[in-house]
């Protein structure tokens, strides 16, 4: 049996990783149990990557409060974690009087929430800041931005690991029991013991909540599909363009990424299967058609990929979407922090959620600061983003920076090697992709995937048939065509 942990976080998504990282600020033994092979295979990696302003949520809710707090702190966080973040602003475009009224209400709500820098702008101003946007007027949220959701989640996890947290990937929790004031958590056949447990299981929050004995939460999945456009399209989209939102749904929008791609979507379909990420034809057609009303640059030759994500939404008996639930139920599950329905704006709110969870524990016992805690994490220096002077200097220092492996994203061998030897020990193809952006360009790995596969084999001492795409059973090769030398 393993030694006793102070805190075990179930779920290594953006929120779980932020929580783990916040706990490592204190002298605590922290572990994270993640059922997938990496940290952003579900909701954290499957979204629009928008850092929200905080105006879209009912005043007084955790969603509103933590989102505004998260947005406010994001520049400092991005700097600490060395992650791609652009505070580009965003616009909500409208045409009708009704939409104008709705925007005015949204703005008022935003101001009540503490969101700042919200302005109503006319068509002329809209076209000045976002020339391609279609609309008669807009609400401009200057504080909104975009982040690379993969690198962001990975950076939180890596920084947690650097500060002592242990990540157990491929560990799906199947049972939780409590004996003599200690939780025993069974995950992939191993038993972990801990004083505190945090349910940050995302789409699995209902299941884990039930295991803790806190029953009755109805969690539905809201699935959204997306189309990704070529990097060259980004020049026509300086900031995300949204329609005027309804109460429950932000609408199909177009979002620039930190790397110049454009993502189109999402729709929102209620689902009960939280593992099916297929994108149907009619949804792709609908996305393109619908988003073309606000941004007319969606052309099929620019499509490079499609994907979908599922948000866990906690709903009441009438199906009404509820606020984030972050609770401790001492009567049922002492020393357990239960997070339910952490959907959008979870990406923006992750670190404030982490602080909130830690504060709940801090009310119960005195937490001793960890003097060695270092909030800074160094990312992999990206060749593509460097000036030619910087590139020359990097190659001088490390010749592997002169070997371009992925041509579309200009990712070098040095970056791939650093990604293979990442702090979380992930060596799937998608793990390398998320960490370097290799295989994310217009050729989708047509040029580089074989080279990356070969490097993983060599660096990790793995056989071809042991290399995985993303999940444990997602083999990419059956092995050698024939044994060498025959």
């Amino acid at each position: 049996m393993k030694e006793l942990y102070d805190v075990i976080v179930i779920g290594g998504g953006v929120v779980g990783s932020a929580i783990a990282r916040e706990f490592t600020r204190y002298k605590l033994k922290v572990a994270v149990l993640e059922k997938n092979e990496d940290v952003c295979y579900e909701t954290s990696g499957r979204n629009s990557g928008v850092i929200h302003g905080g105006f879209a949520y009912d005043t007084g809710t955790l969603k509103a409060r933590l989102c505004v707090e998260g947005n406010r702190g994001f520049d400092a966080l991005a700097e600490e974690l060395d992650i791609p973040f652009v505070r580009c602003g965003k616009v909500l475009v409208g045409n009708t009087e009704e939409e104008m009224e709705s925007l005015k209400r949204t703005m008022k709500q935003g101001e009540a929430n503490g969101a700042t820098n919200l302005t109503l702008i006319d068509e002329e101003e809209l076209h000045r800041i976002c020339p391609a946007a279609v609309g008669k007027f807009a609400m401009f949220s200057k504080n909104s931005g975009v982040v690379d959701p993969f690198i962001y989640t990975i950076a939180l996890a890596e920084n947690a690991v650097q500060n002592g947290a242990e990540y157990f990937l491929n560990h799906e929790v199947t049972a939780i029991t409590r004996k003599d004031g200690v939780y025993e958590i069974t995950a992939s056949g191993e038993v972990f013991r801990t004083r505190y447990v945090v349910n940050s299981a995302g789409l699995g929050c209902g299941k884990i909540s039930d295991m803790l004995g806190i029953t009755g939460y109805h969690v539905i999945g809201s699935k959204g599909d997306y189309i990704i456009l070529d990097q060259r399209t980004g020049k026509n989209l300086p900031m995300p363009i949204y329609p005027v939102p309804s109460n429950t749904y932000m609408g199909i929008h177009v979002t620039n990424t930190t790397d110049g791609n454009v993502i189109v979507g999402p729709n929102a379909i209620n689902v009960t299967d939280f593992t099916y990420y297929g994108v149907p034809q009619e949804h792709m057609d609908y996305l393109a058609e619908s988003a073309s009303d606000i941004w007319p640059y969606i052309f099929k030759p620019e499509y490079i990929r499609n994907y979908s994500g599922i948000l866990p939404k906690w709903v009441d008996e009438n199906g009404k979407i509820q606020d984030f639930k972050i609770e401790m139920r001492e009567d049922i599950a002492p020393n357990a922090v239960n997070l339910v329905g952490i959907e959008s704006p979870g990406l923006t709110s992750a670190v404030p959620i982490g602080r909130y969870v830690v504060s709940m524990i801090a009310e119960r016992e005195e937490l001793i600061p960890n003097p060695d805690f270092n909030p800074r994490r160094e990312g992999i220096a990206r060749f593509e983003k460097m000036s030619n002077e910087e590139r020359a200097a990097m190659i001088e220092k490390d010749p592997d920076y002169g070997e371009v492996i992925c041509r579309c994203q200009k990712v070098t061998k040095a970056e791939i090697l650093k990604a293979i030897h990442n702090p979380l020990g992930v060596h799937t193809m998608v793990g390398i992709k998320y960490r370097t952006r290799s295989m994310m360009g217009r050729c989708q790995g047509g040029y580089c995937q074989m080279r990356i596969e070969q490097l993983i084999e060599k660096e990790c001492g793995l056989k071809a048939e042991e290399i995985k795409y993303n999940k444990s059973d997602s083999w990419i090769l059956t092995g050698k065509v024939r044994e060498e030398g025959i």
Partner: protein, 410 residues
């Protein structure tokens, strides 16, 4: 910054043929930049035969074909750098390349674009469904098998009857995989007839025309695909869906000229070929930047790539010797039955070979070239199919006057 008369981007069939022709024309201050560890381009992985019939009168494998060029490059000591990726090209012909021994910057008098093409992917087609492992483009599967000795899968379905797809159907069969079938969305095959015979018929691999993949299944590794029949507008017909279990889907659904550097250099592209707009000298819209081979338009046979690159090299030599080239003001337009023509601009009194593809099958048809509505040349076509490129040579004296040309099929 190092100065060069000519920088050739890409050491594949187009780049090497151009370098040799430049050498023969007395232009020696040439440098070939190749990102791979050796010269040869995509032919290194094309271990099947069928190359060189037109050029050498014998059938060679891809590596054999290109070895002849590499040998000559070495004999003539034409300079080249391998492991060197061009990362930037400016309109004024500054070339920046990355290599393990440093970042290199060149100022060229002329630049030759010879980067070849890339494969159309699943994402570009927008095939619906999940995104499991096991969906490969044909060229990726070919590289895994022929360059890296790695087997991509065992139970295979192929979408698209492009040549590489059919060649991979045979190749995978020979290595013990079970290739169930090739599905093609069009009512006619995309690849060459000889490949249908030698790669499919000879191995009893069925080819189903007017069918496509309408859903991909599997959350980890591919588990199967849904195949549907399509109507004459290529739309899937509801009710015709059939599920086929498989672990590998190979896509051979088209090639796209790789023009990212060209776009950086503000070279105008033709939306039909997705390659540069070129003139009778193979000069692009940018002064002193030339293009030939698959970066210009996708060819059917490498022999024609070599020929085109040589013709381009003569244009480059003329450009260097005369400090520029005369303007080509006559536009060549693709009329009925013709998808595109290359080059798109020509001039009176300059012989040129027009390359084109037909848009559909023709039998006993006549290709006409008209100027100002007047027929200036005809060619009888016993048979013409989209899979095969047509090359029509126009003599210098056949092009006179200023009117635009139209190429069409009657």
């Amino acid at each position: 910054m190092e100065k060069r008369d000519v920088i050739i981007i890409g050491g594949g069939p187009a780049g090497l043929a151009a370098a040799l022709e430049l050498y023969n024309l007395g232009i020696k201050d040439v440098l070939i930049l190749e990102r791979e560890k050796m010269l040869g381009g995509i032919l290194r992985q094309c271990i099947h035969d069928g190359f060189g019939l037109t050029r050498f009168g014998e059938t060679l494998s891809g590596p054999e074909y290109i070895a002849r060029f590499i040998k000559e490059i070495n004999e003539k000591q034409i300079p080249y750098l391998t492991n060197t990726s061009v990362i930037e090209l400016t309109p004024d012909k500054k070339v920046t390349a990355a290599a393990p021994d440093g970042l290199k910057e060149y100022q060229a008098k002329a630049v030759i674009l010879a980067m070849g093409c890339r494969e159309r992917t699943r994402g570009a087609l927008g095939i619906p469904g999940e995104r499991p492992a096991g969906v490969y483009t044909a060229g990726v599967a070919q590289a895994y098998m022929n360059l890296y000795n790695r087997m991509p899968g065992k139970e295979v379905i192929i979408l698209g009857s492009g040549d590489i797809g059919m060649i991979m159907a045979r190749r995978m069969t020979l290595e013990g995989a079970h290739v169930q079938a090739v599905y093609e969305v069009l009512p006619n095959p995309s690849g060459l007839p000889r490949n249908i015979q030698q790669c499919l018929n000879d191995y009893d691999i069925p080819l189903h025309l007017s069918h496509t993949v309408t859903e991909i299944h599997g959350s980890s590794r591919l588990e199967g695909v849904t195949i549907s029949k399509v109507d004459e507008k290529l739309k899937p017909i509801p009710g015709t869906e059939e599920y086929h279990a498989c672990d590998t889907l190979i896509l051979s659904v088209g090639l796209i000229p790789e023009n990212e550097l060209s776009i950086d250099a503000e070279v105008a592209l033709d939306p039909r070929t997705r390659g540069a707009v070129t003139d009778a000298f193979f000069q692009t819209s940018q002064d002193g930047i030339f293009a030939a081979g698959n970066v210009l338009h996708v060819h059917d046979l490498v022999d024609f790539v070599s020929l085109e690159a040589e013709a381009m090299a003569r244009g480059v030599a003329e450009y260097l010797n005369n400090d520029g080239l005369p303007a080509c003001a006559i536009s060549v337009k693709a009329g009925d039955g013709v998808g595109h023509t290359v080059p798109q601009k020509i001039m009176p009194g300059k012989a040129v070979t027009l390359s084109m593809r037909v848009t559909r099958r023709f039998r006993d048809a006549v290709l006409e070239i008209r100027q100002n509505g007047e027929v200036i040349k005809t060619r009888k076509l016993k048979k013409a199919i989209p899979a095969e490129m047509l090359n029509i040579a126009l003599k210098a004296e056949e092009i006179c006057g200023e009117g635009d040309l139209e190429v069409l099929i009657r």
